[in-house]
């Protein structure tokens, strides 16, 4: 009834609202009684306040005022809305707006309550759920919320699991949603891709994104994540295609700028990349990924102070941004302050305890500080949590080498080689030859001729160790002949299988490398 009465005013105001003339919209909605009109009225007032605030910031009267600029409308809105709230006159949208206002006033606890209420009243309004997502910081908080039991809750839970880095749970939720009939939803597909990106399962994420692009070719959302993946894999043509495509769709979108920035960065045009990240930030200063990425670009340009600044900004926006902490650590590492950067790497590690990159970085710092015990721990842990770059074991082996712990070193090299070959792909790994060379020499020292010669032969396959491998082979041949001629009884013990001799001797002997499985 009321809706019908307010329809004219509402339609007029909605048109003004769509034209972003908020004050005008609010003016024409003054006397309206219907819920819909009331929401639009309040929302226009809110947005008008926000807009004015942003405009004010530009011409503030100097630094004194910088922090003072506030949305003046907020408090009035709060008073009015709280009155209505007390009288239980607010509908779902009204509650949502009330929550937003409270959040803007930093009254987080009240805001959460109101958003939960909004979700109960109007479970299908995703905005309230999203706002709730932003306010919940850990799993514990989530447990204590009493949420409405609808299918929207499943979406919300999946989303917040992704945010809280609980990827396994998130993927499960999404899978059950797909099974329940949402298989065509591009939103779910994109969220799954993002989740895979978060656990650095790059191949899966890439394939899902490609699928997504096929289904939804004009999508801009989430494409920044896609470009990150392409960047990590150095897929230049794909990234270039993506960048051009997005630029055609809409070039003034944060995601587009980010993709272009990544594209330039991959082409080593770091100034241009930084420029595009800055543009992204101008479009949305809260888009924190760009701060971090800009930091990376400044690092590439060797502008460390600007990089530090960018990273600090990123941290200010979100304290839990592990990449920014990691970036700060890297910056100080470049400035040759290994002790100083320990703190930053530790912070990053705290945020991502199972990420090997931080652990390797920590290990490297400890190594530089000559704290070899700690360094060993770090590398070992990095290997244990699943090393992404496969460098931890080599570094660990080298440390053992330095400390003259040849057995452990050999073990590490063996594990490393097994790791590299078991992964299936043949990546050019410089350290493989080093590993084989060390193993050859190690077996040579232990007088395990067969294994030594096998490793030496492997060495010959690499350019840098070819000569050494050949020399070692010759030596082995020579010694073998000598050994057979002079004293067979002594050499017999050397030919015992290593596993047996390991039982006899107190020192742990390395079991010989099973080379049959290693053939590339």
């Amino acid at each position: 009834m009321e809706d019908a009465r307010d329809l004219d005013a509402y339609t007029l105001a909605k048109s003004y609202f769509d034209l972003k003339e908020y004050d005008r919209a609010a003016y024409f909605l003054r006397g309206c009684k219907s819920q819909k009109a009331y929401f639009l009225y309040m929302y226009s007032r809110y947005l008008s306040g926000e807009k004015k605030k942003d405009d004010e910031t530009v011409d503030s009267l100097g630094p004194l005022e910088k922090g003072q600029v506030k949305n003046e409308a907020l408090r009035e809105l709060r008073v009015e809305l709280s009155k209505k709230h007390k009288a239980r006159e607010l509908d779902g949208f009204g509650l949502y707006l009330y929550g937003v206002v409270l959040r803007k006033l930093d009254l987080v606890k009240e805001a959460i309550d109101v958003f939960v209420e909004a979700a109960h009243v109007l479970p299908l309004h995703w905005g309230a759920w999203l706002e709730l997502c932003n306010l919940i910081t850990d799993k514990e908080m989530l447990k204590f919320l009493s949420l409405p039991d609808t299918w929207m809750k499943e979406f919300f839970l999946a989303h917040i699991y992704t945010e809280l880095q609980l990827i396994e749970e998130a993927l499960q939720k999404y899978q059950s949603l797909i099974d329940a009939g949402f298989s065509k939803s591009t939103y779910i597909i994109s969220q799954i891709a993002v989740a895979y990106h978060n656990i650095r399962d790059i191949d899966k994420a890439l394939s899902i994104f490609n699928e997504l692009r096929k289904q939804d070719p004009y999508r801009i959302e989430n494409m920044d994540t896609f470009s990150n993946l392409l960047y990590v894999r150095s897929m230049k043509p794909e990234l270039s295609y993506l960048a051009h495509n997005l630029c055609e769709i809409d070039k003034y979108r944060v995601e587009t700028c980010c993709v272009i920035g990544n594209y330039y960065s991959l082409r080593s045009q770091h100034e241009k990349a930084a420029l595009y990240f800055q543009r992204a930030l101008k479009l949305n200063p809260r888009y924190l990924g760009a701060w971090t990425l800009m930091g990376h670009e400044y690092m590439e340009m060797k502008n460390t102070s600007a990089a530090i600044q960018a990273y600090r900004h990123a941290i200010e926006v979100n304290k839990r941004d592990y990449r920014a902490w990691y970036g700060l650590g890297q910056t100080y590492e470049i400035l040759k302050m290994p002790f100083y950067c320990l703190y930053y790497y530790r912070r990053a590690h705290q945020l991502r305890p199972n990420d090997s990159r931080m652990l390797v970085a920590l290990g490297e710092c400890y190594e530089k500080l000559n704290q070899l015990v700690e360094a060993k721990k770090c590398y070992w842990r990095a290997y244990a949590v699943g090393d992404v770059e496969k460098m931890a074991l080599v570094k660990l082996a080298k440390l053992h080498e330095q400390l003259n712990e040849s057995e452990q070193a050999a073990q590490c090299y063996i594990k490393y080689i097994q790791d590299i070959y078991s992964c299936g792909e043949i990546v050019e790994h410089l350290e493989v030859s080093t590993a084989f060379r060390y193993l050859a020499q190690y077996y040579f020292k232990c007088k395990l001729w067969d294994e030594a010669s096998a490793c030496a032969q492997k060495c010959c396959a690499f350019n840098d160790t070819r000569e050494e491998g050949k020399a070692l082979l010759r030596q082995i041949l020579q010694l073998r002949n000598q050994g057979e001629n002079s004293s067979t009884e002594i050499s017999a013990s050397f030919f015992l299988p290593a596993s047996l001799s390991a039982n006899n001797t107190p020192t742990r002997r390395v079991s010989p490398l099973n080379l049959s499985s290693v053939t590339p």
């Binding site: 922090g67 009035e76 102070s305 530090i308 290994p338 002790f339």
Partner: protein
């Protein structure tokens, strides 16, 4: 929908895609307060010759603090002007009122007229004078404003004026009870204000730049000089968080937050704040000069150095060393000798933890003098003196060195170091056992007006050196038996350095030590035992030593011996000679208590040799007392008397009252013992003098309320009177003895066989 209004944000730090690190470089912005000042200046110019000489002078003196100080409200400004010239104040007020209640063009006209004061053949204001510079800055800043900014400035001025009016108006409305209309308006306002909660109120309002700077520097200096007057840690942190919320670029606030976290021993947040500060500092440094000596590279070096200092303060010596190495490496790479010098002095402090070589320190002092860093140089000298004192260097050399460094201090007016120097002298005199000299030095410091008070008006009296001196003073008084005075001093200390402040541990230790000594004197060993735990918490070595003493007093000889042996080896390892000698003395005492005087002798001789070598005179004379006692028991009282003559003088001059009493008692005993071989007449004389000495001892023991010893003295005196046939005095002594004996439990130790 959320992203719609998020994207409306605009970051003021970025213009034209370039990120400005710190807008704080620019300090001149037109604010309503500044405009009021401009009005004042123009009124001053207009009034010109009408002002009297006195008024003019007062106004001129007022101007500088007004120009440089933080923004203040209109009424306060008006009051300040009124104090020097009431006429002017009202005319200023009227002009501001006209401007605020008028139109925008009034303000524009005002600024146009301002520049007139420079023109003319004889301008009112010189372009380069303080006032001239201020005027020109303001005109420039005003001209730079955009249209909307000008309008905003005008509304700000109106508000500034109205706020003031309102404040004055409140009193009036209360009395008049004006029409309901206004009341209703007020109600609505209140309604707006009521639902504000604490969080909102706490972040009351942003401080202006100058106010923030003043706040920070004030709190920082208070933290350094007089912690009790600074805000409490929690309140200060709240203020800082508030400040940072509004001015996230205010890096100094992070540093203060670091200092504040240090106060409460919070490693985590202090590290966080320190690193944040330097991250910010690096930004500002980068703008001025990149990588140069002054800018960014420099702050990097000091960042590492500060981190080292932080770890050192928390006792993470290994971490500190790593950080320091880093600082040294970076400083070396960029040839920053001053920074290297700072590193060197920290390196010395770290080295001190592991070894006692002073090569580094000597080197540091030399270098510091060479680079003209008086502060570091004399700090180095002071550390060196301290180390040398422990290493047993002769006193005259040490005092000479201190005198030289004092010269440096006075020359550069390093008042903080002067205080430290005096405190150090007090401690050194105490170490040597010259209580009168120590007393004198302590009084010097306490009655000296520090230089700071002349300079800033902040009484610098809550530094560590004051705490040290006061603690020594308390102990000196307690030694002389003035327990009331000592507890008075301790009460004062408690007020000055409340229990959670930086230097509170010092007085806590001294307080417990004095209480312990008193309990031991009274023979209330259970109380002493309960104090041991507290002492151990503050100083483990001292605690173990006291524990052994309690055990010894409770006749648990073997436990005490075990403990003392352990302590001895530990102290020898860390070269704590003072404690080694004390331990040796206690061990010797244990031996003679178990009647093993022959074993005690070599231990005592060792202690004597050590205390002579390190010129610890007080301990030496105490050793001599022990030695004499052993000799007495071993049957050579003449020899004992001989060496007693050596020790008695310094003990009477500098010793504690208890020791004086013991010494006199011992002398008497020796006299009696050696008198056995004398002729009757001579013997009587000797006994008479012994009685006199005993009387003196009695006086001393009464002073420190040491009743056990008093009982022994009385017993001994009664025996002497008996020998001399003076029955009346004998009976009196015997009666007193009996009274005491009934009060006190008898311990297993034979009465005469102990001198302590």
């Amino acid at each position: 929908m959320a992203s719609v209004h998020e994207s409306l944000y605009f970051n003021p730090m970025m213009t034209n895609g370039v990120v400005h690190a710190n807008v704080f470089g620019i300090k001149d912005w037109v604010t309503p307060y500044k405009m009021a000042l401009l009005v004042l200046l123009s009124e001053l110019g207009r009034a010109g010759a009408q002002l009297g000489l006195l008024e003019r002078r007062r106004l001129n003196r007022l101007l500088l603090p007004l120009l440089q100080g933080p923004d203040m409200s209109l009424s306060r400004l008006r009051k300040a002007i009124e104090e020097s010239c009431p006429n002017l104040a009202s005319s200023v007020h009227i002009r501001i009122k006209l401007m605020a209640e008028g139109e925008l063009k009034d303000m524009e006209q005002f600024f146009d007229d301002l520049s007139d004061s420079f023109t003319g053949t004889e301008p009112e204001v010189h372009k380069t004078s303080v006032v001239g510079l201020f005027l020109r800055h303001m005109i420039l800043a005003y001209n730079k404003l955009s249209f909307s900014q000008v309008y905003k400035l005008y509304t700000a001025l109106q508000q500034y004026f109205q706020n003031d009016e309102k404040k004055n108006g409140i009193d009036e409305t209360d009395m008049e009870l004006t029409n309901t209309d206004e009341l209703e308006g007020k109600m609505e306002k209140e309604e707006l204000d009521i639902p504000l909660r604490e969080e909102e109120i706490s972040c009351g309002g942003p401080l202006s730049q100058k106010q923030a700077e003043y706040f920070l520097s004030q709190q920082a200096s208070l933290l350094k000089n007089d912690e009790t007057k600074a805000l409490t840690p929690a309140a200060l942190q709240k203020e800082l968080n508030n400040l940072l919320k509004f001015n996230p670029d205010f890096a100094e606030a992070h540093y203060l937050s670091y200092l504040n976290s240090l106060r409460v021993q919070d490693v985590f947040s202090s590290t966080h704040s320190l690193l944040h500060y330097f991250d910010r500092l690096i930004l500002t440094g980068a703008e001025s000069k990149s990588n140069g000596d002054e800018g960014y590279g420099r702050s990097l070096r000091y960042a590492a150095l500060n981190l080292a200092a932080l770890h050192c303060r928390f006792g993470h010596y290994q971490q500190a060393e790593l950080a320091l190495q880093e600082a040294i490496r970076i400083a070396q790479e960029s040839n920053d000798h001053v920074c290297l010098q700072h590193c060197l002095s920290w390196l010395y402090i770290l080295e001190q933890q592991s070894s006692d070589s002073c090569v580094l320190l000597e080197h540091s002092v030399k270098k510091a003098v060479h680079f003209g860093l008086p502060y570091l140089a004399s700090l180095g000298i002071q550390s060196l003196v301290q180390q040398r004192a422990f290493a047993g260097k002769t006193a005259n050399k040490l005092m000479d060195a201190l005198k030289d460094s004092d010269l440096l201090h006075w020359k550069h007016s390093l008042s903080e170091l002067i205080d430290i120097s005096i405190a150090q002298k007090t401690a050194i005199w105490r170490l040597y056992g010259r209580s009168t000299m120590a007393l004198q030095q302590a009084q010097t410091l306490l009655s000296m007006n520090s230089l700071e008070s002349v300079n800033v008006g902040v009484q610098q009296n809550n530094t560590e050196s004051f705490a040290v001196v006061l603690c020594h003073l308390a102990e000196l008084h307690a030694e002389q038996g003035y327990f009331a005075a000592a507890s008075e001093i301790l009460k004062h200390l408690k007020e000055r350095f409340p229990p959670n402040s930086q230097h509170s541990q010092l007085w806590m230790l001294f307080d417990q030590k004095i209480q312990f000594d008193r309990a031991m004197n009274d023979g209330r060993y259970h109380i002493a035992d309960s104090l041991v735990a507290g002492i151990t918490a503050l100083n483990s070595i001292e605690g173990v030593y006291r524990k052994a003493i309690v055990l010894k007093a409770q006749n648990q000889m073997s436990e005490a011996h075990k403990l003392l042996q352990k302590l001895l080896t530990h102290c020898q390892k860390i070269k704590n000679t003072e404690m080694v000698i004390s331990v040796l003395l206690s061990t010797a005492e244990l031996y003679w208590r178990s009647s093993c005087h022959t074993i005690a002798l070599p231990v005592l001789l060792q202690a004597l040799a050590l205390s002579r070598e390190y010129s610890l005179q007080y301990l030496a004379s105490e050793t001599v007392l022990n030695l004499a006692f052993s000799q007495l028991i071993l049957g050579i009282p003449e020899q004992a008397l001989n060496i007693l003559h050596m020790a008695i003088e310094p003990i009477l001059a500098h010793g504690a009252v208890l020791d004086k009493g013991c010494a006199m008692f011992l002398v008497a005993k020796c006299q009696v013992a050696s008198a056995t071989s004398y002729t009757p007449q001579k013997k009587a004389e000797a006994l008479e003098s012994a009685i006199l000495n005993l009387n003196e001892a009695k006086v001393y023991f009464v002073k420190v309320d040491c009743r056990e010893q008093l009982r022994d003295v009385l017993y001994f005196q009664a025996r002497l009177f008996h020998t001399l046939g003076r029955m009346q005095e004998r009976n009196k002594c015997a009666m007193l003895f009996r009274q005491l004996h009934q009060e006190l439990p008898a311990h297993g130790v034979p009465l005469i066989n102990a001198f302590k």
